[in-house]
């Protein structure tokens, strides 16, 4: 199940998908402190507080998304970050 591979990442807002693709690692501002998600991480479902979601690609580049609230679910190397509407 938990292979040392890439993460499938999907960042979704209520009305559209903000970003989707593969990444080497994702860090999210979880409710009880920032959380780094790498391939093979345990399945987790956590709420988010305001902060920045960082997606690092295998090539080393990174994408950043500001979030105010939402949640993240991680399962079988698939990360789904659900953010509430931003304005």
């Amino acid at each position: 199940m938990a292979g040392r591979g890439e993460l499938t990442v999907e960042i979704v807002a209520p009305d559209r998908t903000l970003w989707s693709g593969t990444a080497a690692g994702v860090s999210v501002p979880a409710a009880e402190g920032d959380m780094g998600l790498l391939p093979g991480h345990e399945s987790v479902l956590s709420l988010l507080r305001a902060g920045t979601v960082r997606v690092r690609s295998a090539a080393g580049s990174s994408e950043e998304f500001a979030v105010t609230s939402g949640f993240v679910s991680f399962d079988d190397d698939a990360v789904t970050v659900v953010v509430d509407s931003q304005d």
């Binding site: 209520p14 009305d15 345990e42 479902l45 949640f71």
Partner: protein
Amino acid sequence: MAGQQRVYKQRIKSTQTLKKMFRAMELIAASRIGKARDQAQAAAPFSRAITRALSAAATHASVDHPLTSDRTDTNRVAILVLTADRGMAGSYNASVLREAERLITRLTEEGKEPELYVAGRRGVGYFTFRNRDIKETWLGNSDAPQLERAEEIADTLLEAFRAPADAGGVSEIHLVYTRFLSMVTQEPRVVRILPLEVVDGVAPVGEEPLPLYDFEPSPEVVLDALLPRYILARIFTALHQAAASELASRQRAMHTATENAEDIIRNYTRLANSARQAEITQEISEIVSGADALAG
């Protein structure tokens, strides 16, 4: 006789103008359907993610959440009806309103007091004309739903559901909308959105078993945060479905109207032609008989 021809020509002309209008509306509806479907598709991942997460949280948390338990302290129930802002969509509004009436009758028979929340000018017009009380209305943009609108509706309904009985709280929330099955089939549907039936209503059938998640901070808190979002996703999806259905109905209605206009034009053209022919025949016979009279 010449009068008859003129009347037919006028009718042909006015029907042609109408036909152009019908055609234009048909094309507008057709082009908006594509957009409406794109929007619905763009919103699908959110709804899917919420549903999945909620199923996971619900199986772990104790299900005694205010949003999932039945309320017995009040008889009032809320009904949210999604209609269109404009007509010209065949039986779209009529069938969703008929379904709403049926639900109202059923709930009243069960001893409940339905309260109406209506989106769309047509629905509001229908209920105001019949002097029904409407708790809240939302007008405009029924064919291009905005997220803000879904949020407004979800907030209003959640507030009503959470309010205490003496402050106008409601014990159930029902939703009447039109489901988009295909371009030719749309069916009005009634669903109860609150209280949620977490056990069988949420878990999607035929998916792999849900993983054992670690919940942060705790399953209860996660569930608490997910439920309102789930309601929002449900309402947003319903708005999208209703919008696509409205546009499909309108396109079909306008297509039929265009064809009817063509039929009418064809008939009147025939009548105008025979009227013209009759006139010519008469003129010829008048000339011939005049010439005969002079020659004789």
